[in-house]
């Protein structure tokens, strides 16, 4: 079986010349079709950067200095811009982090979904709106036709995130990048949104790269997981194994530092600063061995 996504030896650097710094340091990652993989790390780990690299949406000052990103027989690192445009939104979709800023505030919800469907699937206006209503119903929006005529500000955060999920799955993509899609939501809403992502993933048969800092979210929705720190993969495997028997000291430390509602306070152990220091020292040692950023 060919992978839905294969990332090999990916290096990404930010800045130029002597002031540049590596943010991804030789990342390898593979997703099977239909797999949901959690990409876990703290801020600065490079997890969002990896998602952006796959989408070809790296910030302007970031460059891929080495590596390959294979998707459906093409290398997304060297692909032409028109080719990428035809993939994005159709074969590869994004569920963004912030439901508040990711929709166009001056366009009705229906028009925003329709433009996507008309562009990629060449549907007529009427057919696109019809399909948009169906998609909203799929994400459990009770009155889809009514919501099509609303503006984003008329929807709650949870509802906006549902619209974005519907848009992500609209063209039956084979890969969805979910970039912290529930971080801004209340826990009760988060649970519903996670449930919807899982339901749509099953129905549309997409693989999902789920970027998050929350080990709890990973435990509930991801079959496999990759732990990232300082742009390096420290550990990966089946979620059930990694959480029950973490091999890397950093994964163990993260788990011990996560407050749990089902355990008394005494169980909490902060991540030892010495461990973080040694991980960064190791990353910098690698940078000296393979000075990708400055090449």
């Amino acid at each position: 079986m060919t992978a839905a996504l294969s990332v090999q030896g990916l290096h990404v650097a930010i800045g130029q010349g002597t002031s540049s710094a590596n943010v991804l340091r030789g990342v390898n990652l593979e997703l099977e079709p239909g797999e949901v993989r959690g990409l876990v790390g703290e801020s600065g780990a490079g997890k969002s950067m990896l998602g952006r690299a796959v989408l070809g949406l790296l910030p302007a000052n970031a460059t891929i200095t080495a590596g390959k990103i294979s998707f459906e027989g093409r290398d997304l690192v060297t692909i032409s811009e028109p080719e990428r445009r035809s993939l994005l939104g159709r074969r590869i979709a994004l569920i963004p982090q912030d439901p508040m800023t990711s929709l166009n505030p001056v366009k009705r919800v229906g028009a925003q979904i329709a433009i996507l469907l008309r562009h990629h699937l060449a549907l007529s206006r009427r057919a696109a709106l019809e399909r948009a209503a169906g998609l909203l119903a799929e994400v459990a929006i009770r009155e889809p036709r009514l919501v099509l005529g609303l503006y984003p500000h008329e929807l709650s955060g949870g509802m906006r995130q549902r619209v974005l999920i519907a848009m992500a799955f609209a063209c039956d993509p084979s890969l969805v990048i979910a970039d912290e899609p529930t971080t801004a939501l209340d826990v009760t809403v988060q649970r519903q949104v996670l449930q919807l992502v899982e339901r749509l993933r099953q129905r549309h048969g997409a693989a999902v790269l789920f970027v998050t800092h929350d080990l709890g979210v990973v435990a509930k929705i991801c079959r496999t997981m990759t732990v990232l720190h300082a742009g390096r993969v420290l550990e990966e495997g089946e979620t059930v194994d990694v959480l029950a028997r973490p091999r890397h000291p950093y994964t163990r430390a993260l788990l011990a530092a996560t407050p749990r509602a089902d355990r008394p306070a005494e169980a909490l152990r902060p991540v030892p600063p010495a461990l973080i220091d040694s991980l960064w020292a190791e990353a910098q040692r690698l940078d000296r061995l393979f000075p990708m950023a400055t090449s």
């Binding site: 709890g216 435990a219 407050p259 991540v271």
Partner: protein, 285 residues
């Protein structure tokens, strides 16, 4: 009888809401008849989702807002109707730590100045030397290097900034602190350090605290009691162990069961209850 430092009686707050361009604003009640009693030296957790009124309640407790009705007794003094002049001596004893240290620390001042501003405002500084010494002592108290007196906020990490925010709140040696979502923007590794710091400070300085959070797991680490807020009302209130082990109110049960624990649990996504919701916008705080 336990010694209650802060007590509220039927505390309510409403703000005027515009319902139309030419209509008279109508009062919208966001905190409704809240009764709390915080024993001296204890930590009360205030938990709720967005729009529950937890931040408004916190701002009432430190009298950044004046309640519409109901009372607040601080150390036996009724403070709900006091004006600014009358509040001033009490302000030194009541402090607040804010959610976002990035925006609550003046970017143009060195930490040494920021940390001792409360002291100079109350005339408790004796000259420049004293300022440095006091700032250094405060930095040390929250586990920051003493050399940080000359640093600016932007030179600090998020966790360090939050420590600085805590240090400033402690400058006047308050009896009572309200901390509003102070660990929610932090990484797990940093968050645990801040939580343990607060626990240690509380034991060392005998602080009484109200700890506002949307995250029940965090509350469990630090608090003795917890009050669950929904739509401005306290729906459940009691000792942490009791609430977590046998929640009585359906909303508390729903909140607890929605927390994704870091254990694989097949079926967790299946029984989330009905997921069809209406389209209307929730209330914003």
């Amino acid at each position: 009888m336990t010694d209650i430092l802060l007590r509220t009686g039927s505390l309510s707050f409403a703000y005027p809401e515009r319902v139309g361009l030419f209509r008279r604003p109508v009062p919208r009640e966001v905190v409704k008849r809240v009764d709390l009693a915080v024993p001296r030296g204890s930590v009360l957790g205030l938990v709720g989702e967005s729009g529950s009124g937890k931040t408004t309640l916190g701002r009432l407790l430190v009298r950044l807002l004046r309640p519409t009705s109901g009372g607040i007794q601080f150390d036996g003094v009724e403070i709900s109707r006091l004006n600014e002049t009358e509040m001033r001596p009490l302000r030194a004893r009541i402090q607040m730590i804010f959610q976002d240290p990035q925006s609550s620390l003046n970017p143009r001042l060195r930490l040494g100045v920021t940390l001792t501003r409360p002291l100079s405002a109350y005339g408790r500084l004796q000259g420049r030397r004293d300022r440095r010494d006091r700032a250094a002592a405060l930095l040390d108290l929250v586990g920051l290097p003493v050399g940080f007196v000359d640093r600016y906020p932007h030179e600090l990490s998020g966790g360090q900034r939050q420590r600085a925010g805590i240090a400033r709140a402690l400058a006047l040696e308050p009896d009572f602190i309200v901390a509003d979502e102070i660990v929610s923007g932090l990484d797990v590794s940093t968050q645990a350090h801040i939580l343990l710091l607060l626990r240690e400070l509380r034991a060392r300085l005998g602080l009484t605290m109200v700890f506002i959070s949307h995250d029940l797991s965090v509350v469990r680490v630090l608090c003795d009691d917890v009050a669950i807020l929904q739509h401005g009302e306290v729906v459940e209130y009691g000792p942490v162990a009791r609430i977590f082990n046998s929640p009585q109110h359906p909303y508390t049960q729903q909140l607890l069961s929605a927390i994704p624990l870091p254990d694989v649990e097949p079926g967790w996504l299946d029984d989330a209850g009905p997921i069809v919701t209406s389209y209307s916008q929730g209330s914003a705080a």
